[in-house]
Structure formats: C-alpha cells, structure tokens
Subunit: 400 residues, 2 copies
C-alpha cells in the first residue's frame, strides 16, 4: 500500500465510536495519504506499506489533533489592567466608568487593522497550538458593526496562513448590544438579520452563526430572529446559553437544530431533553466558570443520562476566560465539573468536531478522516487531563 | 564600568522593597558581573558600561527569575490512573485497597534509582523552567527510610547539573508515617530525630527541615520533636500547617522561628499574629486548594493586616497538586484567594526567597543579588497573573 506518512511504534487513542472508551490500540500503526488517514489499526494487522516518510513514535501516544471548538481568539486591547483593578477592589461599575469591560475590547478591536489583529492573536494561537490543537473555532463579536465584524472573521481565516492550523470562523454579531444602538435594540437586530448575516453567508466569512442569549445580552425572542436569519441563509447555529441564568436557551438552540449550546450552567431538564432529541452538543467552558468563581455546576449527570455529547473548550476571551490551554480546560472540566478522563478527551476530539458540524471530517483516527494528529510524551492518556500546566506534546501534524 | 552582561531597553519590575508595588522602572538598565547584579536603575542614570554582551530587550519586561518555594518535584510512579479512577467514582478507600494513594508513590520512589528519579523529574522541571523559574525548592518525603530519603535529596541536587537552575532541597521525612512503622509512631520519630536529621545535616543534603502537621500525618507534639532535632543540628524549619484542620500549626511553626508555614487554610488569628512576630512567611498553595476542591480560604486579609509576607508556590506533587506552572499558581492565587497582582508577583520573587531563607541572596533586582533573570513578552506585569496557560517567557538567565 503506497502512502505518504507511516506512523509506527505508537499507542493509539483512536476516539472512534465503534470502540469503547478512547478506542485504544496498544501497538498501533497509522498511514496517511493526501492529508487524510488511509489506514489505522493494530500493527500486527497492517498491510505492507511503501511510505515517503516513516515516523517511529517510540511508544508514545498518538491522538487526533485536539479541537478547541469555542474561542473568541481575535481581539485587540488589554484587559489585564482591569483584572488588576478588580483584584484591588474596583467594582464592575467603576471599571465600566473607567472605560473597561467588553466595550473597551470592542473599541480597541474596531480601531485595529487586520494586520494588528493578526499580530495580537498570534501569541495566543501559538500557546493553543503548543497543546496539540489542530483546529480552532474563532468567533467574531467584538466588532458589532459590519466592517469590523467582517474584519474579525477575515482575521480569523488569515491565521491559517500564518500557522499550520485549521480555523472555523463563527459569526457572533449578537454578542452584546453596541453602544450606538443602546436605545435601538430593534435597529441592531435589523442590521444583524438584514445586512450582516446575509453578507457573512454570501462572502462565506463564517460557517456558523452564534448568539449570546442572556439577560445582559439578547432575549430569547431576539435570538430567535437571529437564528431565523441564519437559517434563511443556510448557516447552522450555536448558542451561548444559560450561562448566568435559565433563559431556556438550550431548548431554544435545540429547536433550531443547533450544532451546539455552550456554557449551560443553568440549563434545565427540558433543555437537556431537547438537546438530546436535536443532537445538539453541550459545550462546557470551565475556564469561564473558574474565572467568574461561578458555583452553579452544569447538569453533567443529566447530559450523561440523556446521552448528550459533551465537548470542552477554552472559551478564550479577554474578559471571562483568558485561557490559552485546552489541556488545562480538560483538567478544569474534570476537577470542577467531574467529567471523566474519557469524557474530557472525547470533548476535545470527537465531540468537539461534532460541535462544529465536522463529525465526518475530523476528531477521530479513522480511515478517511483528516490526518490531523498529536503525538504525546506520556505513559497513559489520563496524564493529559491529570497534569496541570504540563507540556506533554511531542509533535503535531495538520494534514500529515 | 566593566561588566559581564548589560540588559538595556527593558522595563524593570525590580520587586525591591524601597520602591512601591513592583518597584517598576519604565526605561531601565541592568548590568551583571560574576553572576550577580552590579548595577540596576533608570537607563538615563546609568554609568558608561563596557560589557562582554549587551542584551536589548526591545521594551520587554525584565523581572527576577521566579522562585517556586514549595514543591515535591522528585518522585517515581504514576498517580494519573488513580485520578482517572476517582473521577469514575472510586472512593479513597477503594483507591487505597488497590494500592493507590501516597504510599504507592512511596513504594515506587523507594524502588527507583537516582538515575530513574532524575529521568522522571526532568520533564516536570522543564515545564516549571519554561515559566521563568530559576530557583526550585524540592522536598523529600516519599522515601520515609534513610537511604531513600537521602537519595531523593541527592536527586534534587543532581537536577542542577542537568539544567540551568538552582535547587534548594528540604528534608521532609515527617511527611507521613511509613507503613512499616504503622504501629510504632515513636520508633519512626526516633529514626527521624536521631538518625535522619543528624545525617542530613552532616552531609548537607538539605537546607531546611519540613513536616506535615495534620490529623492524618504528625501531631503538634511529634512535629515539635522533629523541629527540636532540626534546631539541634542547625537546620531552619518550615511546616505544612493547618491545611485540612486547625491544629495550631502556624503558631507552632512561628514558635520555632520557621522560615515559612505553608497551606494555612485553617490558620486562626493567634497563628497569624505569631507568624507576624516571628517573620514567618505564609506560603499559599492554591493548586492543592483547587485540586481538592477545598472551600475554606486561607486568611489572606489577616495576613495582609498583620503584614505577614505571602508567597505563592505550585506544591507540585502527584496526589493533591500535579501543577507544573508557577504562572498558573499565581492566577489561582488571584482568582481563588483574591491576592492582588502585586502580591502574586512578590509571592514568587521577594517573598518566595524569604520563605527559603534567601532574602539577601535573590528575589529582587538589586545590586549584589544573584543575576537570575526572566525576560517577558508582555505589555504589563499583570499579564503574568491574568493570562491562564499562556507562554509569555522570552528568555531566562541563571547567574547571567
């Protein structure tokens, strides 16, 4: 069998659904051709390969490249000073009066050129990639006006030219109300639904539409309008749902067949059941839970019982989750939310791919899937969840 | 002025006590000679230097190399599987019956050669160093018998030959009762006080003696005996104090003029006052707090009011804090314990040095101090605390 790359002397965590747990193969081999997996299985069962390159793993673990399925990676400005002020006792109101909060990120992001946005995002992207990530979802939502939103999405796409990584851009114009529409919610909704979503779809700037449904953001009715516009333009939806209160967001997302509902600390039983019926992925974001010192836990046991697939992501953003490590997000999901090791690892591979509508394309080591791979210097996959702030990655391939 | 290395075009966080906050100098210079700082100050005030090497920081921040003043870095064996089992619902009793827990680390560490212990510790050390650490304290305490304890301490010292780093070894024979003394506490105390501490002192295997004073470990009376032996042999003491319950550990440590008392979640007002009088540093270990999902916060506001210096460390250990990032320990100290940015940064520099009895030797950028330095790609020091899982280190020098 003629192949491009042959990985041998590796232990495989295939994450494939037809095998239990991690789908482990203790003495495995994997061959790639044209950027996709051509063969994978026990070395003893491998056919004879003719490979351009052979990579001997020396017993290391090979997994699918990790997928961070919820980030706000592209922004300008600096919220570290605000973090410092808050620890010194400043209230949210004082921070806001001083020009801080999300609107300071919006101002700085609007003012930044695409090149400046790329320059600001690259160190963050590099930190993520150093943890074995090969796909990063990136949302807009700090522009909140057409040109700035498009520029944020274009910047996200441009990152893939700077580093070996796949980017999935998501349009989150419905992130918060821009200041110039503070007294005209309906006007911003029209701008979103009649101008921005159609343009994003026409120019293929994003592969999904997201919204923040919350008392401090958009109402369920407003979210519905955004989702209807997305549907009309052929874009799947996702939702920041039930993070700070129970707005019925999970059920709303499910009613639109959303790819995912994200956060979900306050999701109720009806929401869980609706997500199960719709096949909507529950994206858990423990970095925000940790940073906000939230105490309300997402209904993990209900998701388990209802067989709702759970993903885990960094939610990387400057305000509520300045988290640049998906391995650490897994540790937080285990420590704070009590996800098992298998759930954590599925949450950054197979289930994360599903949260992006890419379940058939990546997230497992199976023939036909993209050859996006991570090779780890570990003795067992549990170490990827157990160790906090370690650096276990040996190497990473995007389309090996 | 003839110097070895000149650092220029740098912003300095000197951490020096005669300046407020971080002792920042916006446009600074620093010169080294014979491994120590020869001159530091505003560039505008610098004398003419003749330097063997000039390092231009391009506006980056230069700080003292960070000091991790509480770790258990040297161990053998694997507790990731136990972590996995616990998440799957196994109880501590089941884990213990299966041979897990701290005694599994003791068994594996006893069985390991010095070379095996070095090999196991190096990836952990490398992760720490990648965060800008230049001094690491390493405790014994997984040998619990003379030869194994000495081997752990020798291994710690040997790490300094493998990497550019300074190691401070601490003897923690009083970590837990070894199984062979389960019915003879007095016998183990005699072994500690009459054999091990004298030998550690004679061979200069450690620069301090530590103990774990807790209901599950050693009583205050037993701890006192250990401290008296340490005093008799000229070794300063430290204490794992009041982590899980109020045993009066902080006051006990202070009564022996301890360099530090560590953990301190349950420390009472009397303990805080005694520490203040004795000049004992409060070493906060938020990694263990986080991993154990502890809810009792250490009395930070009391330490502040009493002017007890606070340090922050990883507590890196396989059971309760598998944490390999001191930057992350700072973020946890801020997020979970509400330390300010300045307190966090003092806690891994000046106060961490004091916790090791090295306040005169390192931990600040002042003339005469060791030229242990970290150069950071950041716009403001707060980013070192704010960002979670980032990789901001640009370069690091030990004795520049």
């Amino acid at each position: 069998m003629r192949v491009d790359r042959l990985f041998t002397d590796v232990r495989l965590a295939t994450m494939a659904p037809h095998r239990p747990g991690l789908g482990a193969i203790e003495d495995g081999a994997l061959a790639t051709r044209d950027g996709r997996i051509a063969w994978v299985g026990p070395r003893a069962e491998a056919p004879a390969f003719t490979a351009r390159e052979t990579i001997r793993g020396e017993g290391r673990w090979l997994t699918p490249g990790l997928i961070d399925c919820h980030t706000h990676l592209v922004w300008a400005g600096d919220r570290a000073a605000e973090f410092e002020r808050r620890l010194e006792g400043a209230t949210y109101e004082e921070i806001a009066r001083e020009g801080g909060g999300i609107l300071s990120t919006v101002r700085a992001t609007r003012a930044a050129s695409r090149a400046e946005l790329v320059r600001a995002a690259l160190p963050r992207l590099d930190a993520l990639l150093a943890d074995g990530i090969t796909t990063v979802e990136v949302k807009s939502g700090y522009g909140l006006e057409p040109a700035s939103e498009y520029r944020q999405l274009e910047t996200a796409a441009a990152l893939a030219a700077e580093r070996p990584v796949r980017i999935e851009a998501t349009f989150l114009g419905a992130h918060t109300l821009p200041p110039e529409f503070a007294n005209d919610r309906a006007g911003y909704l029209r701008l979103l639904c009649e101008t921005m979503i159609p343009e994003v779809a026409r120019r293929r700037l994003a592969s999904a539409v997201d919204a923040f449904c919350e008392q401090i953001a958009f109402t369920p009715e407003e979210t519905r309008a955004v989702f209807e516009a997305a549907r009309a333009h052929g874009l799947p939806v996702k939702l920041h749902a039930d993070q700070l209160s129970d707005t019925g967001g999970a059920a709303l997302a499910a009613s639109f067949g959303a790819l995912s509902a994200d956060h979900l600390e306050y999701t109720n039983a009806e929401g869980v059941a609706a997500m199960a019926r719709a096949g909507t992925v529950a994206v858990l974001l423990p970095g925000a839970f940790y940073t906000l010192r939230e105490t309300q836990l997402p209904p993990v046991e209900s998701f388990r019982r209802a067989a709702v697939p759970m993903a885990v992501a960094t939610d990387c953003n400057p305000g509520t989750s300045p988290l640049l490590s998906l391995l650490l997000a897994m540790n937080m999901a285990a420590t704070l939310f009590r996800l098992t090791v298998v759930e954590c690892l599925l949450g950054v591979t197979r289930h994360a791919a599903k949260a992006l509508g890419l379940a058939d394309d990546r997230g497992t080591l199976e023939p036909g899937k993209r050859a996006d791979l991570a090779l780890w210097s570990i003795e067992r996959p549990a170490e990827l969840v157990y160790t906090i702030g370690g650096r276990p990655l040996h190497a990473r391939w995007v389309g090996a």
